[in-house]
Subunit: 438 residues, 2 copies
């Protein structure tokens, strides 16, 4: 992974000076790693190297007869499924519709959707799926997420009716000693723990992500190797070589200059869900009413997600002509060796010049370059991240980079990166409404 | 469809006064309708009632042996596919992965994606699909969109190799007399016209949307009936009864008060692509460098898309605690009659209170109500749109409402709602790069 910040509109001096203020925090993160400390919220960075926990997930996954599994139903919402979906979609999910015969497929049930539940159950029935072919993964950190429990109950009720027997392969992933943990044990359902201080949005390398991805046949070791590699890079005191620090400092400085929106502009359409995972990471981590001293600050950056080249034909006009309130991060990878090429003789000759014999990479690359040059001309700040390859290793690198970046950005903004106090307010109202309708 | 603006933080007086300034423009739109005027950009509002054009699309669709078609491959980008995808995804696409045996399926090729092209072709092969079972719809208003032409050439080359014969069912939808129009005629490919003044983002009710949706077996008449119904409502001088005017005025006033982001918060996860369609509509229509007098204004509102309840667990914290820079529009529909219900006896009893016997609608509704009450408490401005039913008619209403809303908003902001001059700049650079690599 290579980060280029030459168009960030932040000077090298600023990077170095602001970076110095991060040194004590970098030391704390290094201590967490060295001491294998599980008492602080930052301990999510231990996940890629925690072999015990990793082996627990892997061996439990392999306890099931995975060769029989056709559908893995991942029931969870927010931090419980966004990381898994990011990785699954990048390599399989985006293509699932065009590959109807590839199995296992992962289905994600997050919010309650009546039509989705009905059609899922009736499709399982019409396909003649048996309980042995379905693996249910129930994920809730707190163990009491309304949508997750509701989806499990609905699936349990309706799928059991269809199969005329109970669901067989069920596993729960939750905090040790949550109500769900205890209930699952009572019911004889296998459980995997999420280490207490590891919050949902930082949990992709914990059992939350590893178990379902491993069950889906994805080489999770490669993901973690990428993450470990990047963790070391992102704990460097040499700020100009530390992508997490650079990216955080760029965003911090651009926010001070009125760039209230961060646009992750990904030139790889199957990586859309990775952008959605980052949306939560940024939105929840630094979108805060109060700072660490209790002052009302209403701070935060609104994460925006764009897909190249698709969104150039959608919101490109706004980005180039509209308000200058965005900082952009272009993310891309070009595996040019494996690219398909257009024929030498174009059938529809004369419509677009200079595309004969060009590969898909050539074309996408020319569009991206054209856009970056235009951003430069228009004085729009951006950084770019070259993933270098479309691999699990790169994705592991990118996600670890982003999680550490967010810790640095929270530190610079002087907010609690790890809590989400304001979402409680609507949950209280929802509970009141549900109880008054009983 | 019902719009509620009681929490828009805009006074009834302001709605009425600002609304009066729209009256002359409303009269112009009415003239377009009455005179069946095809000379102005606003003439997209003629689409739902243009029976000749509608019948052309329908009869051409029915010229193909649709009962044999398994895959409709819709090749287009931006305004050429977002409307079609919005409607298709809402009713089928969102569920396609869980319904592998439902046909025809629509595949969308927008940007170039090497992996997607490869896997599409190899899947067509492994499924034993024949040319008779594939319908290619090639859509480009200008006739010279790089990605669209590249995708067609790639598919033509590689699918023809797989089938060992040429693609059979191909149709082009483009401006009359574009290069594509002429080339297609030369090659004996059937063509449907897009009326000249109807821009991509306003073209969903033209052949651009009608042909592929009709070919997919969707009752397009019902969509257009909804649109026609809404067109009348949105041309009313009675501003308080005119949802397009109300919504535009609310956004205009909130922008003046620093709400630079518009969040469409849809509580129906299968409607995500409708939100993406609106993203283009808003982004391109009012994201402008210059106003109508040529002043540099860099105006616009950044469209943001959220899915309820999913995104409450992702960016809800930011919305409730972060910067107060958003105006929100909640969109929902609850078909409570058809809702599944949770059992009376919850299996995982004790995890979430008061959900036994509740329907999916009850739960989602309680969450939405909880959120709206919290927005009210936090003084966050919002309007809400109740679609009343999850039907093609409602979607037709909603999309027509939004297109007229955007015409009003462009008028209030004194910009050209219908052009997108700034996207030319990156295209010039891209062409330069492509030609220098030849």
């Amino acid at each position: 992974m290579k980060l280029n910040f030459s168009h960030s509109k932040v000077s090298e001096d600023t990077f170095i000076q602001t970076g110095e203020s991060l040194h004590p925090y970098i030391d704390i993160l290094q201590q967490v790693v060295d001491g294998h400390e599980y008492e602080v919220y930052e301990s999510s960075i231990l996940m890629p190297g925690d072999n015990d926990l990793y082996e627990k997930s892997r061996s439990l996954a392999n306890n099931f007869d995975l060769s029989k599994i056709k559908y893995i139903i991942d029931i969870g919402i927010g931090g419980s499924n966004l990381g898994t979906k990011a990785i699954y979609d990048a390599f399989y999910g985006f293509f699932d519709m065009i590959e109807p015969h590839r199995y296992p497929k992962m289905l994600f049930l997050d919010t309650v959707n009546n039509e989705q539940m009905k059609r899922t159950c009736s499709s399982l029935q019409s396909q003649g799926i048996t309980p042995e072919e379905v693996l249910i993964v129930l994920i809730s950190k707190s163990g009491g997420t309304t949508e997750t429990v509701a989806n499990f109950e609905l699936l349990h009720t309706y799928a059991s009716q269809i199969f005329a027997q109970e669901l067989r392969n069920v596993i729960a992933i939750t905090d040790e000693d949550s109500h769900l943990w205890n209930k699952a044990h009572e019911m004889g359902i296998a459980c995997l723990p999420i280490p207490k201080p590891v919050g949902g949005r930082f949990s992709v390398f914990s059992p939350v992500g590893i178990f379902p991805l491993e069950a889906a046949g994805i080489n999770t070791k490669e993901i973690l190797q990428g993450a470990l590699d990047m963790r070391n890079t992102c704990l460097s005191h040499n700020i100009l070589q530390n992508p997490a620090a650079i990216s955080a400092i760029a965003q911090f400085n651009q926010l001070k200059q009125g760039k209230t929106i961060h646009d992750t502009f990904i030139f790889q359409s199957n990586f859309e869900s990775i952008g959605k995972w980052y949306r939560q990471l940024m939105g929840e981590s630094i979108g805060k009413e109060q700072d660490l001293d209790g002052n009302i600050v209403n701070t935060g950056i609104t994460p925006n997600l764009s897909i190249g080249s698709t969104d150039l034909h959608s919101v490109g006009q706004l980005y180039l002509g509209g308000p200058k309130d965005k900082m952009t991060e272009f993310v891309f990878a070009f595996n040019s060796d494996e690219s398909l090429s257009l024929p030498q003789e174009i059938t529809m000759e004369g419509l677009v010049d200079n595309i004969a014999s060009k590969s898909t990479s050539d074309i996408l690359h020319a569009i991206l370059e054209g856009v970056m040059v235009t951003y430069e001309h228009k004085n729009l700040p951006f950084i770019s991240v070259d993933l270098e390859s479309l691999s699990l290793f790169s994705i592991g690198q990118f996600m670890q980079f982003k999680m550490i970046e967010m810790m640095y950005l929270g530190k610079l903004l002087h907010v609690n990166t790890f809590d989400q106090p304001n979402v409680e307010s609507y949950k209280v109202e929802t509970k009141r409404i549900l109880s008054s309708n009983s």
